[in-house]
């Protein structure tokens, strides 16, 4: 079963879609695809068949999103907690993922036609190597597309994502690229796996459960208003610039002019540091996928 189900909507679906599009629409929707096993039990199927049906429904949902002009979709495919399931079930899910990513690579032209960019978020090191290589191929192959975006969360939990972002910032400090005082809310957001996506407007969980289960906890939380963020950053810069002036000064209190100059200089330096750090981080992440891809090719 293909990732992109072709075909137009029927009349009723088209009318409903047009009515909905007349109002405000979310730009980014996140799905927790829950309930596959309960569905399989209800229909007296094997669990694996339940997961397959779940995937088919996902493909149909992506088609609806495309028709509704929802450009970005994030799905919670496999949590790090799911590794606790029986070996058979985990192996079955990995095999399903393998099949689906192989199918994806076969449909490359179709993906290019629709401009679909696939990103996979999570601790990919926890997955079998061949699956990692397939994922790398899919991600690199669709990197340049920009009409719509599908983020698949695989071996993902939100706490792990936030911790990883903190680890990356600590790596930046270790490498001397940034200082600990540069750590801020926007910088943490920029270090997440999902840094290229806007925050989701809507989160939908199927099967009736009412919890987040460690999914997009940071992204779904309200952020400080821009003005408040800017003010906080300004205060922090002012404090650091004053400290710097004091330590490099000659004991006399600095003039207002001197303080303003120091503040501007400090802010400019900080912004440059952060840019360099984010670029280094991007290179590190790209090389992870490139290494996997070349290992896959040479194997």
């Amino acid at each position: 079963m293909s990732w992109i189900r072709e075909g137009e909507l029927n009349l009723l679906e088209r009318i409903s879609a047009n009515i909905l599009k007349a109002g405000p629409m979310p730009k980014h929707v996140a799905f927790i695809m829950d309930g596959n096993r309960r569905f399989a039990q209800k229909k007296n199927m094997e669990r694996q068949e339940g997961h397959m049906q779940g995937f088919n429904k996902l493909a149909e949902t992506l088609r609806w999103c495309k028709h509704l002009n929802i450009r970005e979709v994030t799905v919670y495919a496999f949590s790090i907690e799911n590794f606790k399931r029986s070996k058979d079930e985990v192996d079955g899910l990995m095999e399903l993922a393998r099949q689906k990513f192989e199918k994806l690579l076969e449909e490359r032209e179709n993906l290019e036609k629709h401009g679909v960019c696939i990103r996979v978020l999570g601790d990919l090191n926890m997955l079998p190597l061949d699956l990692q290589q397939l994922i790398a191929k899919a991600v690199l192959g669709t990197k340049a597309h920009n009409k719509c975006f599908l983020n698949v969360c695989f071996a993902y939990t939100s706490r792990y994502e936030i911790t990883n972002a903190v680890r990356e910032m600590a790596w930046g400090v270790e490498q001397g690229l940034i200082k600990a005082s540069d750590v801020s809310e926007p910088l943490l957001s920029a270090c997440l796996y999902s840094n290229k996506s806007p925050n989701p407007d809507l989160l939908i969980r199927t099967s009736g459960e009412v919890r987040l289960s460690d999914f997009l906890l940071w992204q779904k939380a309200r952020e400080l208003h821009r003005e408040h963020q800017a003010l906080q950053q300004l205060e922090a810069d002012r404090a650091c610039a004053a400290e710097h002036l004091q330590s490099h000064g000659n004991g006399k209190p600095a003039s207002g002019q001197r303080r303003r100059e120091a503040l501007l200089q400090y802010t400019a330096c900080r912004e440059e540091r952060i840019q360099d750090f984010l670029e280094a981080l991007k290179r590190k992440r790209d090389s992870f996928f490139n290494d996997l891809w070349s290992a896959g090719v040479s194997a």
Partner: protein
């Protein structure tokens, strides 16, 4: 054509508002009705029962827990206290930590105080109160006074016993908890900001070569985020108001929290709260397995 679709959209929105208003009106009217009738009414209005909440249930007291002082009140209040406690015990699963998330603009301190007192009486150890604008944090003392007053009125607690410990942000220099139950007042600063502060602290220790970046783990960050508070994650958050968002409530701590909604915290009744607790009782957490 676009104009027609626009008009149809507006009509649909109007229907949604009417639906919501009807649900709120029915909740008040059907307080005495049985659960099945309520479910049928909600199904008729095409509203999932989980969203609407139950206005009534079979098991508990029908008496209004709001007291009025009169002779023989002490005995009645003691009766009420033990009844609330037995309500809590009759549930298989009671949350250790409950969050009250108020999304409405003007909070009512009396109603929130009622909720806090009922939660504590039923046997919940930690109650967190949160609103989007940090108003509860700003009016800390007013909330505490209301809670103490409601405790007197509803349960007849005597002032000499330490029944409530009020924990606020470390910056306010309030006392450390020594006895339960505990009330915590949270604001948006306790959310992402505290995660950023913990991150800064970890980066600083990396800067000072006290640890390496690879040493940073989920449990390390978890310990830091729990250090100043020392309470378990909220198992249940009851959201009041029409806004469908957590509005920044403790993002790190809510990974496994069940979210249940009630339309409003104004004039909320004990039965509303008990209905939510019973719903929580029937939830099944598989924890990934």
């Amino acid at each position: 054509m676009a104009l027609l679709y626009g008009l149809l959209w507006r009509l649909l929105l109007l229907l949604v508002h009417i639906n919501r208003a009807l649900v709120v009106w029915l909740r008040v009217r059907l307080r005495g009705w049985k659960r099945r009738v309520w479910e049928r009414a909600m199904a008729g209005l095409l509203l999932p029962v989980a969203l609407a909440g139950f206005p009534d249930h079979q098991k508990t007291t029908n008496q209004n827990p709001d007291a009025n002082t009169s002779p023989g009140t002490v005995k009645r209040l003691a009766c009420r206290r033990s009844r609330l406690l037995s309500d809590g015990r009759s549930l298989e699963k009671l949350p250790v930590h409950i969050g009250l998330l108020v999304t409405e603009e003007e909070p009512s301190y009396t109603d929130i105080a009622n909720l806090v007192v009922w939660c504590m009486a039923v046997g919940i150890s930690y109650v967190s109160v949160y609103d989007n604008h940090g108003m509860f944090r700003k009016n800390n003392s007013r909330l505490l006074e209301e809670i103490v007053r409601q405790q007197q009125d509803l349960l007849g607690g005597d002032g000499s016993k330490c029944n409530v410990e009020f924990l606020s942000n470390g910056a306010d220099k309030h006392h450390v908890i020594s006895c339960r139950p505990t009330v915590k007042v949270l604001s948006p600063e306790d959310g992402k900001q505290s995660i950023v502060q913990a991150a800064r602290q970890l980066c600083r220790s990396v800067e000072n070569k006290e640890k390496g970046s690879k040493d940073i783990s989920v449990s390390m960050l978890d310990v830091l985020l729990r250090e100043s508070r020392n309470v378990p994650d909220p198992e249940l958050v009851v959201k009041f108001g029409p806004v469908d968002s957590t509005l920044g409530f403790l993002p790190w701590h809510i990974r496994l929290t069940e979210f249940m909604s009630l339309p409003s915290h104004r004039n909320v009744s004990y039965e509303d709260l008990l209905g939510v607790l019973q719903q929580f009782d029937s939830c099944q957490q598989r924890l990934g397995q």
